[in-house]
Structure formats: structure tokens, C-alpha cells
């Protein structure tokens, strides 16, 4: 299952999650169901930010979509969003963020509601069903 013309929708998608299994599942499904050609996999918010900064001079390498976990040690998903906001426009221009979490805390949902970079809140795991919804929306 891929996008209508048979090609993946995005060139690069980033997944930020401290749990190995969840990165594994997301990476595999992102490729398998034609969301993206390649996956940039980061196990912490800090590592992700460093990567994004390092791409400033080479926007070709930037992701167009970021799947962001909320509960992570050191810097959580909200901490990432605060730092993300400070990044230069060129880095953020062609990118959307989607929260990917198991959290049911209404506060977590409220917190990202007004955030202009976050387009959706998805429940883990990132499986075929959720990807189908994403593809549906992007048509």
C-alpha cells in the first residue's frame, strides 16, 4: 500500500522515541506502507534537535514529517517542541509534527492543541490502520 501514484508520500520522515521497540515498529511500517522513502530514527529529543540543526545548510536532508513521543527521559516531547520553535524558519518550513503517544491525560492533548507545528495526536502503535488514516488525509 502506497500513495496513489505508487511512490512514498515523503522523502524523509523522522521518528523521535526513546523506546527501541516503538521506533522499530514505526520505522518498519513507515517504509512498508509508503509513508516515506527513508526514516531518520532518533532515540532522544536532544539528538533529534542536533540533527535538525546540522541540516540547516543542507535542507535536502531535513524531514518533512516528525513523529514525536511525549514521555522521554531528560527532554520530553513538549521540551522538544519548545526548542523546535527556536530553530530557524528554513528548518521548519516544510515540516509537520505529529504526536505519537499512549497518553490519555487530557492535559497532554490540551498542551499541543494550540501548537502551530503539531498537526495531530496519534495513539501508539503506528500501525497500518493509523497510516491508512494519514494517507486518507493527505490525498
Amino acid at each position: 500500500m502506497v500513495s496513489e501514484n505508487g511512490n512514498p508520500i515523503y522523502k524523509r520522515v523522522m521518528i523521535i522515541d526513546d523506546t527501541y521497540v516503538d521506533r522499530y515498529v514505526a520505522e518498519r511500517n513507515i517504509i512498508k506502507y509508503g509513508i516515506s522513502e527513508s526514516v531518520i530514527s532518533k532515540e532522544s529529543a536532544k539528538a533529534a534537535l542536533e540533527f535538525l540543526k546540522s541540516c540547516e545548510s543542507d535542507p535536502e536532508l531535513l524531514p518533512q514529517l516528525i513523529f514525536l513521543d511525549i514521555r522521554m527521559p531528560e527532554m520530553d516531547g513538549f521540551g522538544f517542541l519548545e526548542e523546535y520553535e527556536k530553530l530557524p524558519e528554513t528548518v521548519k518550513a516544510n515540516c509537520v509534527v505529529m504526536m505519537l503517544s499512549t497518553s490519555l491525560n487530557p492535559e497532554d492533548h490540551e498542551k499541543v492543541k494550540g501548537n502551530k507545528y503539531v498537526s495531530r495526536f496519534l495513539n501508539k502503535p503506528l500501525d497500518k490502520e493509523k497510516i491508512d488514516q494519514l494517507l486518507e488525509k493527505s490525498k
Binding site: V21, T102, N105, N123, K124, P125, D127, K128, E129
Partner: protein, 276 residues
């Protein structure tokens, strides 16, 4: 001894060395005692409020930490189900997934239970259409494509309706998910109709399905904690208990009409606490 605060005020009013008759002094001492007690209660209630918030965060964080590994497992199981060529492996994965969903469902019920236990009635504005659309959407995702239950929603609401949002959504979510879970699997057109008429006084809510129904002699027990009618489905016995508890807190009412094999109707009244 008078409370220092009171003592100071009296001095301000009567001068440094004020003299009051014994009778008045005794009265002032009583006032002073009551004042001290009041201050203590104030401190205690503030502490309670903080504990309540901590508990709520604790409940969310425990339920998250319990569910996170389950969703990881589900992810791997789904990949295996899709990719394996062994029928038996696929079947085993299905069994595992069923168990995971059962545990997840139980954690969600316990979370709801904790939320409803500590529910302080808030007067949130409720848009029933929005709330029910949301619930239906979520349930569709949870049930994936396994069920073909037609969810019909009809809401008549013109005025502002206030009640506790968390409470009302616990009630509706449980009733609608029950209607889906206990659908008649042999029926071609399983449905659940949700009808809401909200007025200045109350909301009348009807949740009607053509599912497996509940026999008359068991209807008295369905609101009991951990009571389950059938072993076939993966219920926890908490859902309707929670519904009843929450409705009591909202000062509402619930009635059930049901016939085995025909379906069930739950009728609910929730008072509108706008302007109360």
C-alpha cells in the same frame, strides 16, 4: 489566650492595654478558638487539594506506563500477523493480541474508575454533538474494522448545557462501547442510536442498540462491580458499575430496558447545572 492576629486587632481598636469584661473576654476566646480551627482547616484543605492533583497525575502516569509496553507489543504482533506465512503463527498472534486488548481495556476501566472517584463536579460547558462525535470516532479506531456497527447520532441542543465533562464522557463512552462490544454478531445491520435532547433543565439521553440484550432476571445486577453476564466477551465487569457511580455523582438517573436477543435501551437524565 487570644489568637495573636485577634489580639493585635483589638489593641489597634482599644489601645495598648485594653480592658474588657470577663464575659466579653470569654466570648472573644471562643471566637479566637474558632478562628484558629478555621485556619487549620484551610491549610488542610489546601493540602488535600494538592494531594488530589498529585493523585490524578499519578493515576495518569501509572496508566500510561502500564499501557506503553502493551502498545509496543501490539505493534510487533501486528507486523508479525501481516508478514508471517504460517497460519498457526497468525492465529497465535491473534490470541496474543486479544489478551493484550483485554488487559488494555481493564487498565482503561481502572483509569476511568479513579477519575470518577475523585470527580469534583465541575460546571463545564458541554457540546453534546462534539463530544459524541469524538467518542464515536475513537471507538471506530479502537474496534478497527472488526465491527460493522452503524453509529447514528442525533443531538438537539440549543442552549448552554453544563455538567462535568469528564463524568458525562465516561458515561457515554461506556454505553456506546458496550453497544458495540455486545452487538449481535449474527445480525446484518447492527446499530447503536444515540439521541440527546438538551434543555435548560436537563439532558435526556437515549442509547439504543439491537445487540444481544440482557435477560430480565439479570438486569438488576448489571450495575454491580465486577458483575459480568457472559464469559464470551472480554468485559471487565467495571463498565456499567462506573456508569452508575458517575451518574449518581452527576445527580442523574439511568434506566435500562432490554430483551434477550433483541437489544437494549439505556435512558439517562443528567441535570443542567448552568445557572445553578
Amino acid at each position: 489566650m487570644l489568637n495573636p492576629h485577634l489580639q493585635n486587632q483589638l489593641q489597634d481598636y482599644l489601645g495598648k492595654s485594653f480592658d474588657v469584661p470577663d464575659k466579653l473576654m470569654n466570648f472573644l476566646k471562643e471566637v479566637s478558638k474558632t478562628y484558629d480551627q478555621f485556619q487549620e482547616v484551610k491549610v488542610e484543605s489546601e493540602e488535600l487539594r494538592k494531594t488530589n492533583i498529585q493523585l490524578e497525575n499519578f493515576v495518569y502516569s501509572v496508566s500510561h506506563d502500564l499501557r506503553a509496553p502493551l502498545s509496543s507489543m501490539k505493534g510487533v504482533i501486528e507486523i508479525t500477523q501481516e508478514e508471517t506465512k504460517e497460519d498457526l503463527t497468525r492465529e497465535h498472534m491473534g490470541l496474543l493480541k486479544g489478551s493484550i486488548e483485554k488487559l488494555d481495556h481493564f487498565i482503561l476501566d481502572v483509569l476511568d474508575y479513579c477519575r470518577s472517584k475523585r470527580l469534583e463536579m465541575k460546571a463545564d460547558q458541554i457540546d453534546f454533538k462534539l463530544m459524541i462525535d469524538d467518542i464515536a470516532d475513537n471507538l471506530k479506531h479502537m474496534n478497527q474494522n472488526e465491527s460493522n456497527v452503524d453509529i447514528k447520532i442525533k443531538v438537539e441542543q440549543e442552549n448552554t448545557f453544563c455538567s462535568d465533562k469528564v463524568g458525562v464522557s465516561i458515561v457515554l463512552n461506556n454505553l456506546v462501547s458496550n453497544a458495540i462490544r455486545y452487538r449481535d454478531r449474527n445480525s446484518n445491520q447492527p446499530f447503536v442510536n444515540i439521541e440527546v435532547t438538551a434543555t435548560d433543565e436537563r439532558a435526556n439521553i437515549i442509547v439504543k442498540d439491537n445487540g444481544i440484550g440482557i435477560s430480565k432476571d439479570l438486569q438488576g445486577k448489571i450495575f454491580d462491580m465486577f458483575y459480568r453476564i457472559s464469559d464470551e466477551t472480554d468485559g471487565t465487569g467495571l463498565g456499567l458499575f462506573l456508569v452508575k457511580e458517575t451518574i449518581d455523582k452527576l445527580h442523574g438517573q439511568i434506566k435500562v430496558e432490554s430483551e434477550l436477543g433483541k437489544g437494549s435501551v439505556f435512558r439517562i437524565l443528567i441535570p443542567n447545572i448552568n445557572n445553578v
